[in-house]
């Protein structure tokens, strides 16, 4: 008995000292989200109190003992209107307020630094533009908007950082984005919140928020020697993308320099903005959107490049502001024979080419 009460006691102490009602507010959006949350809590409490107060006081006032004969009342249009309109009004406020926050969370600012995140059963892999990879962790600087571009290699996952109040589904076959700006250095939980199979509950990690200086140091220490764009460049050459996208006047494919962010007109007549998702789709499903003025000859690379590879390519194309680099690689690798352009060929190329051409295709 004594033993049990001690355990209980400790338990209580532990509870009281660690008691929290909501997680730390470590991002810019968190206080805004919490404001709405507490508004809703408040409204709910008031609503609930009204209901409980009415029920309890009517129960006391009109219990059979005190009020033996019921008075029949048909209803009241005025009251009906009241309790239709007031909750409706409150709910509508919540709807508008909520939608504002929703759009804020899912509309990254233009100056955000972009980090790619690939989810797979059962880990998170983050890829920084500088080529730093991390598994089940994400290091970010404080005070800088960070955009995540998420994708899954297999099933739905969901990237959740409760302390930032953000969460976004990683979908197979499609990029999604979310952004945040961390405000307080520290380590926070990263969860996969979408049920994704056996080890769903182990698909967790740490979000490490650092001061800008620390972050710089971390970036320098964890570099793999090759940035994402450089990786992409190697792939670009080894997949012989540059056979068509060489930026020359007679090239078969459109020049990719500065294509990122531009508005393209498709043969279907629609226009499209070339964002990450568009670039990815162009590589994997080129037939879905053919740029005006070009023949639909680009082969699909579906099944030949891993998501990480696509990310590297996208990052490379994003940063391509002139065709100088493409030209450089072209000069070193030489034009590939007609019909080439398969990933498979990359591995079977004869030795003696520049190291830049020896990109590993599947990571």
């Amino acid at each position: 008995m004594n033993h049990i009460s001690q355990v209980l006691w400790q338990f209580l102490i532990k509870w009281l000292t660690n008691f929290q009602l909501y997680p730390p507010e470590a991002s810019k959006i968190a206080p805004q989200m919490d404001a709405l949350y507490f508004f809703m809590v408040l409204v709910s409490l008031i609503g609930l109190t009204i209901v409980i107060l009415l029920v309890v006081s009517f129960s006391i006032l009109y219990s059979k003992k005190r009020h033996p004969v019921a008075v029949q009342i048909e209803g009241s249009t005025l009251l009906e209107a009241t309790w239709t309109i007031i909750p409706l009004g409150l709910f509508l406020i919540m709807f508008v307020w909520g939608a504002l926050i929703y759009f804020r969370v899912y509309t990254p600012p233009a100056n955000a630094m972009n980090i790619y995140v690939v989810g797979k059963q059962w880990m998170w892999k983050a890829e920084h533009p500088g080529g730093q990879h991390e598994i089940n962790a994400l290091h970010i600087p404080v005070g800088r908007p960070v955009q995540l571009t998420l994708i899954s290699q297999d099933v739905f996952h969901s990237f959740s950082i409760p302390a930032f109040r953000v969460k976004r589904e990683a979908i197979p076959g499609r990029y999604t984005t979310v952004w945040f700006e961390a405000t307080t250095p520290g380590t926070y939980h990263l969860f996969c919140t979408q049920y994704c199979g056996t080890n769903h509950s182990a698909m967790i990690g740490d979000i490490v928020v650092m001061t800008p200086e620390d972050f710089k140091r971390w970036l320098a220490e964890s570099t793999s020697g090759m940035s994402l764009a450089q990786n992409g460049e190697r792939l670009f050459a080894s997949l012989s993308c540059n056979a068509c996208h060489n930026g020359r006047a007679d090239s078969r494919g459109p020049s990719l320099a500065n294509v990122y962010g531009s508005k393209l007109t498709l043969t279907s007549g629609q226009t499209a903005t070339a964002d990450e998702a568009y670039l990815r789709e162009s590589i994997l499903n080129p037939s879905d959107h053919v740029t005006q003025g070009f023949a639909p000859i680009m082969p699909t690379y579906q099944g030949q490049i891993s998501e990480d590879g696509v990310i590297a390519l996208v990052e490379y194309i994003k940063n391509l502001d002139s065709n100088y680099r493409v030209d450089q690689t072209l000069n070193t690798t030489g034009l590939l024979p007609e019909g080439e352009g398969r990933a498979a060929s990359a591995g079977t190329k004869p030795a003696g080419q520049t190291p830049a051409a020896k990109g590993t295709v599947k990571q």
Partner: protein, 556 residues
């Protein structure tokens, strides 16, 4: 003045009527081949109780596992199977048929003054379909289980699991048709089988609620059926409608699934709301405040319930613009529920209230459903949904509405109509205690989960960071209390079958047609079809009726 309305016949002389639907025929076959809606209701009652306890045992395992942060009681995939079976059983084999297939089946013909449902054989077929579905689920359990979660998210369920998705899918498909036929039967009955004088606005609100729920069953369930068929085809022949690697869209599955499963949550609550209307009215001796508003709000919930399914997919990559539409419509569908709550509250006003067990459960319903519903609004507001979705906040939300709401309503109804079904009263004191235990245990179990969810604890986690342990311990402790609260009724209700007081026709002095006939009723319900000449919940009519009877007996 006494504080009870119970008016039982003199126990020394009272007898249970010799001929009634239970004693009419004997033998197992007479039950298995019956087409009497009352007997089928009892078959359902037994089978869903069975599955409730299996589902409850699963819940017990979940809570035990979550007592500690590590996954030490069972391996993670076992845990995943356990919560999947818990969800599947509780939803498809317990809550969806709970009130409609038992109380609804039993009462709708009685309340309308009909001899049976319109299609008695189809009704029996529904039960058999249910049983087949149930057996397939049991088969799934013994042959290794399934770990998709009750939502069957593609492509997880189609290409990444090698558990018994197919048998579970088929089970749900079959059980779905059981539900479709029940709903269809109710709609036809309500339209075509009403006794003379029973106009739409003289129907009890219980019937209105079932009418609304039936619409959802008939129109929603087939979409679930086709979604499941597509999943099964994808697993067997690999066709790719939901497979992103073949150009399919995995979100399409969720559209189809939630097109059913959102309306399904109203299938799960509306019949319960019907029960609450009856109970509140009876125990406050008053016509339900704003009868028409309550009736139409049921229909409004049913209609608007079809327009909001996407709120389960807000962060899953749906278009932002359609999110706006669905979020707005979700706000609209919440309003009719609020209307109901307030109308029930005002039914108490100037009533003459007593606090028997059904009423206690009804009070429990009102409090817990209000909390559950309002937290639903947190999730419907797209901004907060980002933070709260896929966490224990949702788990708490839906247990508040499903367990705190519907299960409370179910228990309320079971106690309320127990004397009608069996002819005997349940023991009042201990059942009041059970209601109290349930209420306390419930809050202990699920309230901490709101905080857990806000703190960010994801759902469907076999292991969790240690800082969440304390609240989880609370929750598990509460579940133990809750379990006791649910075991008690089983015990004393069984006891009462033999030892309960004889109830007589109308122990609650309620106004419904079902109370004006003997308990348990005759197989043909009414010797002669009644003519309805008064409104529902007309206590003055009942008074006059009792008066008349007294005169007759004193003269005779």
């Amino acid at each position: 003045m006494s504080s009870t309305i119970v008016s039982l016949p003199d126990q020394s002389t009272a007898r249970i009527p010799k001929t009634n639907f239970i004693t009419k025929e004997n033998g197992l076959l007479s039950w298995l081949l019956t087409s009497d809606h009352k007997r089928i209701a009892i078959l359902y009652l037994i089978s869903i109780t069975f599955f409730f306890f299996i589902g409850g045992a699963m819940a017990g395992l979940i809570r035990l596992e979550l007592l500690t942060p590590q996954s030490d009681l069972m391996a993670t995939d076992t845990y995943n199977k356990v919560f999947t079976m818990h969800g599947v059983i509780m939803i498809f084999l317990f809550l969806v048929p709970s009130v409609p297939a038992t109380l609804g089946n039993f009462l709708i013909p009685l309340m309308l003054g009909a001899k049976d449902l319109a299609l008695p054989k189809v009704n029996l077929l529904s039960w058999y379909l249910y049983v087949v579905g149930g057996i397939m689920v049991l088969y799934t359990m013994v042959s290794g289980g399934v770990d998709t979660g009750w939502t069957f998210t593609t492509p997880l369920s189609t290409h990444y699991l090698n558990t018994n998705v197919i048998s579970t899918g088929l089970a749900i498909f079959v059980a779905g048709f059981s539900s479709i036929f029940t709903g269809l039967n109710f709609i036809v009955t309500i339209h075509k089988m009403r006794a003379p004088g029973m106009t739409w606005f003289r129907m009890p609100l219980f019937v209105w609620a079932h009418y609304a729920a039936s619409i959802l069953m008939v129109l929603g369930t087939p979409v679930l059926a086709i979604a499941i068929v597509l999943v099964l085809l994808e697993r067997t022949v690999g066709i790719g409608v939901f497979d992103p690697t073949k150009g399919g869209d995995p979100l399409l599955f969720q559209h189809l699934f939630w097109f059913y499963s959102h309306p399904a949550v109203y299938i799960m609550i509306l019949p319960g709301m019907g029960v609450i209307s009856e109970v509140i009215s009876t125990f406050s001796r008053k016509r339900v405040f704003g009868y028409t508003a309550v009736a139409f709000s049921s229909v409004a919930i049913a209609v608007f319930g079809f327009f909001v399914w996407e709120h389960h997919m807000f962060i899953m990559g749906v278009s932002n613009y359609s999110m706006l539409v669905f979020s707005l419509l979700t706000m609209l569908v919440a309003v009719p529920s609020a209307i109901k709550i307030f109308n029930w509250t005002f039914t108490l006003y100037k009533g003459s209230i007593t606090f028997e067990t059904p009423m206690l459960y009804a009070f429990g319903f009102m409090g817990l459903f209000t909390i559950g519903g309002l937290t639903g609004v947190f999730l419907a507001s797209s901004g907060t949904d980002i933070h709260l979705t896929e966490t224990y906040f949702i788990v708490a939300h839906f247990h508040f509405v499903m367990v705190g709401g519907m299960l409370m309503a179910f228990l309320s109804g079971i106690h309320f109509w127990w004397p009608k079904i069996t002819g005997r009263m349940y023991p009042e004191k201990i059942s009041q205690l059970a209601a109290l235990i349930t209420f306390i245990g419930f809050n202990f179990t699920f309230f901490p989960q709101f905080i857990l969810g806000t703190l960010g604890m994801p759902r469907r986690y076999a292991a969790y960071p240690p800082e969440f342990q304390i609240l989880n311990v609370f929750s598990t402790a509460g579940a133990t209390i809750l379990g006791v609260g649910y075991l008690l009724p089983i015990l004393y209700l069984t006891w009462s079958l033999k030892y309960g007081e004889i109830a007589g026709n109308n122990p609650w002095q309620a106004t419904g047609l079902e109370w004006q006939i003997q308990s348990p009723p005759l197989t043909e319900n009414f010797i002669e079809i009644p003519i309805m000449d008064h409104d529902a919940y007309d206590y003055e009519w009942l008074e006059r009726q009792n008066q008349k009877e007294k005169e007759v007996t004193s003269v005779g």
